[in-house]
Symmetry: C2
Subunit: 332 residues, 2 copies
């Protein structure tokens, strides 16, 4: 059996047999320290030709994106306090120093913005440019804060997300010249700029975690289901449904589209499966969800969790399951 | 300027400008926790064709080696307590699952032996097989233990190492069929087996750190210069000399050769620059060094640190500097 036949999901299932039960179920790993604090650790690999291309991101943007993607996984676990990251850099010997410098400059910009520092790393020659980044951070200990876990959703929770989806995919399409001239002309220039920025300079939503902690109603104890939408909004919802043992109903009219985004024929598809939006998707008690959405206008309700035998994502109006073909799959 | 022109040392110098001063000077990073404990973090990248080849290590041995190399960097910082590791796996889609399973089995064997667990990771397709591993551990808090740092050697220290050198290189030569039949026939079978084992199943010397802590004489406060010899014994000595601002005198008759190893014409060269022996090279006050060597027969004195303007490594008998061409260099 080859990896391309297994697919990423089955591969991860098989690899999780080598870790303690449940260890690989979430966006990042948690390690309890003796002080009572919890360390959050995440490793991401970015490969040229798979995750990035010189034609659509500059080295500096790549460094930023690599850091941001990793910090987004920390945020998805409930981290508010970034310690820093280690970088494994692989590149062919003929790679210009300027490229490497640009990447580390972008990484440093993201760290300067979100906290932490470059902790260490390793370099090697290799046939393909590649970054393997490990980010370290801590959960907050403020106001009874705890981890965010995919499996902590419950029937009755609202499903909310922290911002519009599909923008990063639109940005990529614009940079790659995928859109026909008339499609492009139909999009306001501000939307095009926002989409390119979303693709090149995504923001890890550590701010949403902080707000979540701040606005928690006194009578809600800490229980937050969630993940980030790095692999698409739909897959985020699927992962929460599966891990929480619930069904998820998505509201079509509440899909998080940026203004004017609906003009695109691909709008719904990219919103659900475009990926790399790096927003948080959270399952929360309605009262807490409402407070959060009131405090952060970026956040909105997109659906709810229900008690259902099939742990899948359906449309709220028709009850039909979403097309499962959306979302990423490596090795295929 | 391209990376192959820069060389690894200059590349690391340039990259260290992106980290806090001194942050990248050691084998791994230290992060002080609020509890007073110190977290040790290390990232290593292993690339097919550069660091390993299917012809000389099985997938299981590769997994073991990858873990061991990383844990050796933790040991080189004074770590005794392994938390675990994250694994970034890159492989072409046509890679057999059996290969991946073998690698993770080997990783798990090393963790079962030395402590910790598989904490998390990431997978991606890519053109070349590759492992990017980040290991986490803690410094001991026993008996006033602290970190081991390259720059903590002082003139008058003994330079000791924790075992024979050159064996891993001999193992590689045997596996690759590099030696002439008569050279091979001149080597006792036990030495050949030991060399192949040293190459395929290296041991991170966490036990030496533990013993170092246990045998510290009451009147010596914690100060240990050191590193591991993953890039060769000579480079380990050079790195200690540079970082400690000392000279190092190596004693030729004290070179750490395995029994019968001197029969090989390459013995001295491989002992100094073969690399991947993963022993510890330590600069210690003589009384502490003596106690350690008495307690651990693997450990032996190989030289001493002296007050010298040129921070280099010379032969004790002639005063001549060692040939600087030994040691690894990536990107060339």
């Amino acid at each position: 059996m080859r990896l391309q036949e297994l697919g990423e999901w089955e591969l991860l299932q098989r690899l999780s047999a080598f870790a303690p039960a449940g260890q690989l179920d979430d966006d990042a790993a948690l390690l309890r320290e003796r002080s009572g604090r919890t360390l959050v650790v995440n490793t991401d690999v970015l490969v040229e030709g798979v995750h990035f291309s010189d034609t659509t991101v500059s080295p500096q943007d790549l460094g930023w994106r690599a850091a941001a993607a990793n910090l987004s996984d920390l945020a998805a676990m409930g981290c508010t306090d970034v310690g820093g990251l280690t970088v494994g850099l692989v590149a062919p010997g003929d790679t210009p120093w300027d490229w490497v410098e640009g990447v580390y400059r972008g990484l440093s910009e993201a760290l300067a913005r979100y906290g932490g520092c470059l902790l260490g790393g390793d370099c090697s020659s290799g046939g393909q440019r590649l970054l393997a980044i490990t980010a370290l951070g801590h959960l907050s200990t403020e106001r009874g804060a705890g981890p965010i876990r995919r499996g902590d959703g419950r029937p009755g929770d609202w499903l909310i997300c922290s911002g519009p989806h599909g923008l990063s995919r639109l940005g990529l399409a614009l940079l790659q010249g995928e859109l026909a001239q008339e499609e492009r002309d139909g999009l306001p220039p501000e939307l095009q700029e926002e989409a390119i920025r979303a693709h090149q300079r995504p923001r890890p939503r550590l701010d949403v975690v902080q707000e979540l902690i701040t606005v928690r109603p006194e009578h809600c104890t800490w229980r937050v289901g969630g993940t980030d939408s790095s692999d698409g909004l739909q897959l985020a919802a699927v992962n929460i449904a599966r891990a929480s043992g619930c069904g998820v109903l998505l509201e079509k009219e509440a899909l998080p589209l940026a203004p004017e985004f609906h003009r695109l024929p691909q709008a719904e598809r990219w919103c659900l499966g475009g990926g790399e939006d790096f927003e948080l998707v959270l399952a929360l008690e309605p009262v807490w969800a409402e407070t959060l959405c009131a405090a952060m206008p970026d956040c909105s309700r997109i659906g709810r969790l229900i008690d259902a035998d099939a742990h899948r994502v359906c449309w709220a109006d028709s009850g039909e399951p979403l097309d499962p073909a959306a979302g990423y799959c490596h090795f295929q």
